[in-house]
Every structure is written in C-alpha cells, then in structure tokens.
Amino acid sequence: MDKIFALTKKELHSFFSSPIAYIILIVMLSLFNIFFFLIIDQNREVSLRDVFQLMEFMLVFFIPLLTMRLFSEEKSNGTMEFLLTAPLTLTMIVLGKYFSMLIFFTLLIGLTGTYYLIVEYFGDPDPSSMLTGYLGIWLEGAFFIAVGLLASSWTSNQIIAAMVSYLILFSLYFATSFTQYVSGSAEHFLIQLSTHTHLENFAIGIITPSDVVYYLAGILLCLVLTRLSIDNRLWH
C-alpha cells in the first residue's frame, strides 16, 4: 500500500508542478459555474438534474486531457523502464496512477458542492437526489478516468492517447443516438452501453444495482486491460 501511495503522490506532484492541473481546474470550474447559473436561471427549479447532465457532457471533453499523459509520458521519457524494473507489481503501478487522477477529480467535483448550498438558499431541494447525483457523476468520472488510463497505456504519444480516449468516450456517451438504426436486442444493448442512460437515474435520485454495476464493471475492466497492456508491451 505504501508503494501505491508513493506512486499516487508522485503523479499528483508532477501534475501540480505543471500549469495544466491549474488550467484544467480553473477552466472546468468556470464552465461548470457558468452553466450552473444559466441552467438554474432558465429552469427556475431547485434541482441539479440538468447540471449533472451537462457536467457529464463536459467530462467527456476534459477527462482525456487529465489522463493522456499517465503512461504515455513515462514511455516517451524512458521512465517506464524505471518503474518496471523497480520492485513494484503491475497492479501497484496501475492503481497508483489511477488513484492520483481520481483524487484530482474528487477535488474538482468537491468544489462544485457549493451548488447545493446555493440551491438550498433559494428553495427547498431534495438532498437525497443531490447526493445520488453527485455519486453518479463521481462514478462516471471514475469510469472515464479508467478509460483514459487504458488509452494512455497503448501509446507513447499523448495526443494519440487523448484521441483514442475521445473516441471511446464519445462512443459510450452517444451510443443511444444509434438506436434509430437498430432494433431488438441490439437497441437494448446500445441503450445499456450508454453512460447517459445510467447517469439519468442517479440524477433523479434513483440508485439501481445495474447502474452501479455498470460503472464498477467498466472501471474494473479498464484497469485489468491496462494491466494486461503494460504486461504485454512490445518489449516483452
């Protein structure tokens, strides 16, 4: 556990040593705030349901920027050799990197917690639906980070890593758009594949086992594939 913590700390240190962490934090929070006020002003509802839906859409754009460097940078700098020859298991390396971005994302989402206080000041919101909405958006972010980590393990080029992440995340997000071309089980599959479908329930205060399993299974699958990817790297 000590070694995973050391890796997480190192990732966060590197991330905050560059301006990118602050830029992403400021830009994302600014956009969240602008859309929060626009949505609240337009809907006149004491609910964050539409805010969560919009956050989800913005995460599709921002998460690949967070994750693109995780493995790609190590590969291009030659430091992957340092990690892989140290007494670390592949699981430790994957988890150390994953947790670092999860912590950063939790901080980002945590900072939007003020929305609840603002909404409460103006009305009488349902705290449980707010809480489940936040849980949903956190699980979705955790899933997207795992996807970005996987894409980053495939290449030493950060731009390619980001592009591959975009491709996967857009496919997942817009999966329901393709339902008009198919029917039956294929249509059901696309609906279930879409992240949009699963976040909707959380945003209206419903937690279903299938939604939770969707995110957890997605995270686990991506982490296992990342581990396999660095294990079966070209140099083996």
Binding site: D2, K3, A6, L7, K9, K10, H13, S14, S17, S18, N77, G78, T79, E81, F82, L83, L84, T85, A86, P87, L88, T89, W235, H236
Partner: protein, 261 residues
C-alpha cells in the same frame, strides 16, 4: 551470487541472445563489451526483469527470476542507457520517491537519502530541479537512484556516455567505490574505462558470449584464448575482425552475422 544459465531471447525471427551463460561473484566488477546491437542491452534488460527471456534461467542468491521477480528486483540497482529521470522533480524528491518504491523501510529513508547524496556528490544540487542539471549531474542522480536501496547487484548501461573527461573520471570513481558493497556489471564502449575499473571482461557478439576472462590475464597474455599480451582494444578487434576460410575453419559460431545499430 548471480548465475545466468542458457539465456536466449528472440524478437520474432531475430535471435538477440543465444544460450548466454555466466556467473558473477560478490564484489566482482565485470565489464560487458560488444558492438552496437550485439545484445548487451537485451541481456541487461533480462537481468533487471524488464523483459523476459525466451528460455533460460537467472538466479540471484538462489532466487529464481521466474518465481521471485519482486525479490530479485529488490536486489538489483539499474541505470539504463538513458537515465530514467523526472525532469520536473528536485533531486531530493526524486531520490525519496525512488527509496519509497524500492521498499527502503521508512526509518532508513532519511539515512539512505543522505548517504547517496553524499556518495554521489549531489549535496549542492539536491534542491535543484533535475531538468536544470548538467548531463554529468543527471548521470550521478541516475546512479544514486540505482544504489539507494542498497542492491547487491548494480547494472550500469553505458553510464559515461556523453560525459566530458572530468565527469567520466567522477563516475568511474563512483563505480569503483561500489566494489566493497556490491557486484557491478558495467556496459561501455570505452575500453579504457573497463581497464580502469573492471577485473573481468565478458564479450558478447551476435548474442553469444565469445570471451569471459579476467582482465589481468588478457593484458598479460596468460589467458588461453591468446598467445601474447594484448591491449583490450586489440582483443576486442581480434574478436570482431571478419574471419575468412583461409585462416580460420568456419563453424556455425564463426559464421553468424554481426548486427549493427
């Protein structure tokens, strides 16, 4: 201490190593020689568990690499050809991180950090960002990370490449200093460096060990492979000269092609 038995490595149809076997004892400093593409880096990457061999075994102090990879990596310090450094970290932060992931116990970290900073003469730059350091300092930081966990075997891949003569002498002195504490396998193209620090020479050609002899025996001409005292440079050239059928009978060992690059 280190026993390498019949190690072979294939990359597709290319055979990078062919049944390489040798042993190293505690306190040995062994120079690994060979042309570019001969298989030196592949051999070192196998010894450090970075890549797995196609066949053969590596054991350190009785621990088999295939079964106890983590234990073995704990016993090895490795400096690749390009020092694996994080430019955005300070020297101190990087070495602290190296100590943490290499399993140096918490209560020993401070002591080990101070020790390697002093040993590698990095005290005055410990708070500097690695990206701002000169090549010589970067190389010393690379060596410091390789020895911070007190490994029994130190593997150095061309640790002096690109350094000026003063920096080379400093790095060689540092390597020589390791002899009391650990076994060292040193790869370099500069033969005079081998003559300065090594006691034994391993020469690799087209993935095969073609010479394994004490350095003194080679220089005095007492090694069975030669009839007169020769410089290491001459020994190297002799082993890499193209041999013709007129003066040497061709065997499968002497006809394989030397790869470059």
């Amino acid at each position: 201490m280190l026993i390498v038995k019949h190690i072979s490595k294939n990359f597709g149809s290319f055979q990078a190593l062919d049944k390489v076997s040798f042993e190293m004892n505690k306190g040995d400093i062994v120079g690994l020689l060979g042309k570019n593409g001969a298989g030196k880096t592949t051999l070192m990457r196998i010894l450090t568990s970075f890549i797995t061999p196609s066949s053969g075994t590596v054991t350190i102090d009785g621990d088999d690499m295939n079964k106890h990879s983590l234990t073995i990596r704990q016993k090895i310090g490795y400096l690749p050809e390009k020092p694996p450094l994080y430019g955005d970290m300070t020297v101190q932060y990087y070495l602290k991180f190296a100590a943490e992931i290499k399993g140096v116990p918490k209560h020993k970290r401070k002591f080990q950090l101070a020790k390697v900073l002093q040993e590698c003469d990095l005290e005055q730059v410990k708070l500097k960002t690695i990206a701002t350091l000169s090549k010589g300092y970067k190389q010393r930081v690379g060596i410091a990370q390789a020895i911070i966990h007190e490994p029994k075997l130190l593997i150095l891949d061309e640790p002096t490449s690109g350094l000026d003569p003063m920096q080379i002498q400093q790095v060689l002195a540092l390597i020589k200093h390791q002899q009391d504490q650990r076994t060292v396998l040193l790869s370099t193209h500069t033969l005079t460096e081998i003559e300065q620090v090594a006691q034994r020479v391993l020469m690799i050609k087209s993935g095969r060990i073609v010479l394994d002899a004490p350095l003194d025996d080679l220089l005095k001409g007492t090694d069975p492979s030669q009839s007169q005292p020769l410089s290491l440079e001459q020994v190297f050239i002799n082993h890499h000269q193209p041999q013709t059928s007129e003066n040497t009978p061709q065997t499968p060992e002497t006809t394989h092609q030397v790869s470059h690059g």
